[in-house]
Amino acid sequence: MDQNITQPLVTVRNCRQAYHKEASADLVVLDDVDLTLHEGEIVALLGRSGSGKSTLLRIVSGLLKPTAGEVKWRGKDLKGPAEGVAMVFQSFALFPWLTVQENVELGLEALGVKKDDRDERSEEAIDLIGLGGHDTAYPKELSGGMRQRVGLARALVVHPDLLLMDEPFSALDVLTAETLRTDLIDLWMDKKLPVKSILIVTHNIEEAVLMADRILVFSSNPGRVAHELQVPFPHPRNRYDPAFRQMVDDIYGIMTRRPPKEVQAVPTVPSGFATPLHHVGTNLMSGLMETLNSAPYNGRADLPALAAALQYEVDELLPLGETLSLLGFAVLEEGDLILTETGKRFAEGETEDRKEIFAAQVKAHVPLINAIRAVIDQRSNHRASAVRFRDELEDHMSPEYAEETLRTVISWGRYAEIFEYDEEAQQFGLEEDDEEEEA
């Protein structure tokens, strides 16, 4: 192959990925994304779940064809998984009926490599990645960390030019993830990895700052590259270095910033009706508000510090914070979460007070709940089918989001005692006493 140093490995231009929807507008997952990857760099795609970063990884790998835009691998149009690209999966994607060695050899078999060669190369990869002695074990006998090492060895054994990693450490516990990250970076710095470039997808800000030379921060709905940052620190990086901390803080700020208004393009029936809601339980909300209200936060918390204290990842904490701010319990400001007066009252209230406050907030800020209650009240039998609400939601968001939004509304509505829900019949209804009152 032409070894032109200046030629990038991958170029993605004006990439757009949309799912065709019959009802109304297309569901846009990725919009107008550009990406260039050069040899010798580690690039991180950082974003919340649903920001399309994993979709972009699949487009780069050749597994998925974008709706529009141009994808080039070493200057040529990409049509299907390219030789020289290997992937590490979040779920490890190991074949449970194959031993470690057989799993590692999978890519070599597909290339038609002879047995002796296969043995030698798989042995090499297994030793490199610290799996020596586990050759004949089956994946289910291994711990999560060991399994992901198998996933790494399987990718490295084919000597790919580009290593793609899809949230490779997010299924592991904190300590194991740290070890694997360090080992990988050490091998990379010692030039022992048989790869030329790494593209890693993550929702973990610290992970991105620890590993990458360049970070692309994605915004959600639709997925776009909101920011591009160079990470200036040399390896090995110290996560307690003030400059490092500052960078993590800055990225938190970027990720909590309100999205520009133009994103919510198509205004819809009753305004705000179709806001996707995260399924955040009322217990979790109560717990977070109590924590915020008490020392040491006393109503205001720095998100990175809060995440560290609660052992949450940004992906888990942000939806929580956003839900609190949606309901008027808190405000998100440049990486800080600040409890409002209502939030304070809720945190200090008893069970019944809390339910009342919650009901008031939900009625004020979630139009969908009011719409459901209105339909129930209109009906003579005080029942309303959930199907029509789901259909209406699906006109504005993907079926998964519609389902999650509906589930959220059901659990909030139940807690606030605004309505009941019959899962069997998929119907909203009223509590017995309520019905009598109405009659």
Binding site: A18, H20, L63, L64, K65, P139, V158
Partner: protein
């Protein structure tokens, strides 16, 4: 014991027009089979040299071997069918639209009613050779095995884990490599389980298909089934006893040497990320795994298999998924028109076949007979539930009893119940009781065990913490049954009941008529209707009877079992 959703329950598809098309196609196929068979009957059949069956027990081992060989031949064809048919249905959207409803209908056709025609058909293929009769027998066994195996494989193929599929594509495995590295291993536990269930059910058909009467000629193939048929004709009770013992031995060997080791071995392919506790290794598997000689043989076979499955055999395949690619409207159109034409032709043939001799009143008679059989099956199910649910629960809640009883119940389910008919028939003749009532239990003799072993499995799987909670709150008596145990075992019970009732329909064709020497007994019912029409050579009525029975089975599955099962699994599982 592992519990898999029976294939007749798993489809969440609603009846649609494809079912109608499939029904027409299957019926057209059956009519074609009958037509060909009938034209051969009218021509003078070159007499097959009938091997005489000796009732001397010394011949039994040889006969048992012949019966077993037939079983394995059928198994071979079933596997071949499974791997191709299901793969085609899963990989091609257009093929799947037709193939899956067809499979669903085929599952419900009582093939025993067509024994005569298939025999004549295969005899016509190989005139004057034993080969024809052998193939006919193998074909009947095949039809009793293949459908649920294919269904199980198809279901696995449509639920392949997404990440493993991506890994296969990303590492650029060829379709052939992916088939052996991902598709087959992933499907293995379900396939092995269904294969073993099929084989267990297959013994019944082995016995039934070895002695077939066409017109005035009875074709016999050396085997246990024909041995019993001969013993019946000669009123030799002792020989029947020998046959039962021989069958017990065969099933015991099959159970110990094949069923248990294979099911335990297939656990290796279970798709799970944590090592779960498994039961004790069957002794046969232990022998195979720990003996040097067997290990070497296994390695040799394994190496051979691997070098074949590792071949790329690359065909051009689409490896890049394009979410926005619309299927070609033109090709769809051509495909639909082609299917419509074939279905219309099948409909025309069916009408032509039936209109000459049959009247609407015949349909009425057949449906009435079907209702009698339906009533029998339902009453039997209620009785079986009343007997086996308490016993099964009692056993299932006691691990020690479960370990003993569970293998016995599975063993009994494999035993061909038609071998047990003669003693019952003899008793009916002797006591002069009403055959309408007393022939009925024969239908469920063989299949009631499915109820028992599923209930045992359900009770044994009842969560320990819930048992403790129940004991803690002193829940006892009727409340315990109503709120705790019955909901706990419901999905398992329905699985067993469906298998049992499906088997009962098929068994009715041989159970509603019985003979001992020259005495013939018959009950009123669709099974007897089909059997008598067959004996009289009245082919249109045989076809009608089989169609009506398929209709009954499909309707009962769709209206009763499938909704019940969905309800049970939804209501009685957490999360």
């Amino acid at each position: 014991m592992t519990n898999y959703t029976p294939t007749a329950l798993a489809g969440r598809r609603l009846p649609n027009r494809w079912d109608g098309v499939a029904l027409l196609l299957v019926m057209g196929l059956l009519v074609a089979l009958v037509e060909v068979g009938r034209s051969t009957i009218s021509a003078p059949i070159t007499m097959v040299q009938n091997t005489p069956i000796h009732l001397d027990p010394a011949y039994l081992p040889y006969y048992a071997l012949r019966s077993t060989a037939r079983m394995f031949a059928a198994l071979f064809f079933s596997l071949l069918f499974t791997l191709t048919y299901a793969t085609l249905a899963a990989k091609s959207r257009r093929a799947g639209m037709v193939l899956i409803p067809i499979l669903d209908i085929l599952q419900s056709v009582p093939i025993l009613g067509f024994l005569t025609f298939t025999t004549v058909f295969f005899l016509g293929l190989f005139p004057g050779k034993v080969m024809g009769a052998e193939l006919a027998s193998v074909f009947v066994i095949f039809t009793s095995q293949a459908w649920n195996m294919a269904f199980s494989f198809y279901q696995s193929l449509t639920t392949l884990p997404n990440d493993l599929q991506e890994a296969s594509r990303c590492f650029r495995l060829s379709p052939w490599q992916k088939f052996w590295r991902l598709d087959v291993p992933f499907a293995m536990p379900g396939l092995v389980w269904n294969t073993m269930l099929s084989m267990s059910g297959g013994w019944f058909f082995v016995v039934a298909s070895e002695a077939v009467t066409v017109g005035n000629t009875t074709f016999t193939l050396p085997g246990i089934g024909s041995y019993v048929a001969t013993a019946l004709a000669q009123e030799n009770l002792k020989a029947i006893f020998y046959a039962i013992v021989a069958m017990l031995v065969v099933i015991l060997l099959y159970d110990q040497l094949l069923f248990r080791p294979l099911v335990a071995w297939s656990a290796k392919f279970r798709f799970e990320t944590t090592a779960t506790a498994t039961g004790p290794e069957p002794w046969m598997l232990k022998v195979l795994r720990r003996t040097a000689l067997f290990q070497e043989i296994g390695d040799f076979i394994g190496a051979g298999m691997r070098s074949i499955t590792r071949l790329r055999l690359a065909l051009p395949a689409r490896t890049q998924i394009d979410e926005n690619r619309e299927p070609s409207k033109l090709l769809d159109g051509i495909w639909f028109v082609a299917i419509a034409l074939v279905a219309a032709y099948a409909a025309y043939k069916i009408v032509q076949f039936v209109s000459g001799t049959l009247h609407w009143s015949d349909v009425g008679t057949a449906v009435l007979m079907g209702s009698f059989t339906l009533l029998r099956v339902m009453v039997l199910m209620v009785i079986a539930a009343l007997i086996w649910v308490p016993i099964g629960v009692w056993i299932g809640l006691r691990p020690k009893a479960t370990r003993i009883a569970q293998p016995i119940a599975q063993f009994l389910a494999a035993f061909p119940a038609n071998l047990l008919f003669p003693p019952v028939v003899l008793a009916i003749v002797y006591f002069h009781v009403n055959p309408d009532i007393w022939l009925t239990p024969l239908m469920l003799i063989g299949t009631q065990w499915y109820v028992l072993f599923n209930v045992i499995a359900g009770a044994a799987a009842f969560p320990g913490d819930m048992k403790e909670a129940v004991a803690n709150f002193h829940i006892k008596g009727f409340l315990w049954w109503r709120k705790v145990m019955i909901p706990g075992i419901l999905p398992y019970f329905i699985t067993g009941a469906l298998t049992a009732s499906g088997g009962a329909w098929n068994a009715s064709i041989v159970a509603e008529v019985a003979s001992w020497g020259s005495t013939n007994l018959a009950a009123h019912g669709l099974g007897a209707y089909i059997a008598q029409a067959t004996a009289a050579g009245d082919t249109p009525r045989v076809v009608l009877g089989v169609v009506v029975m398929s209709g009954f089975v499909i309707l009962v599955n769709r209206i009763l079992w499938r909704p019940l099962y969905t309800y049970a699994t939804r209501r009685t599982t957490l999360g």
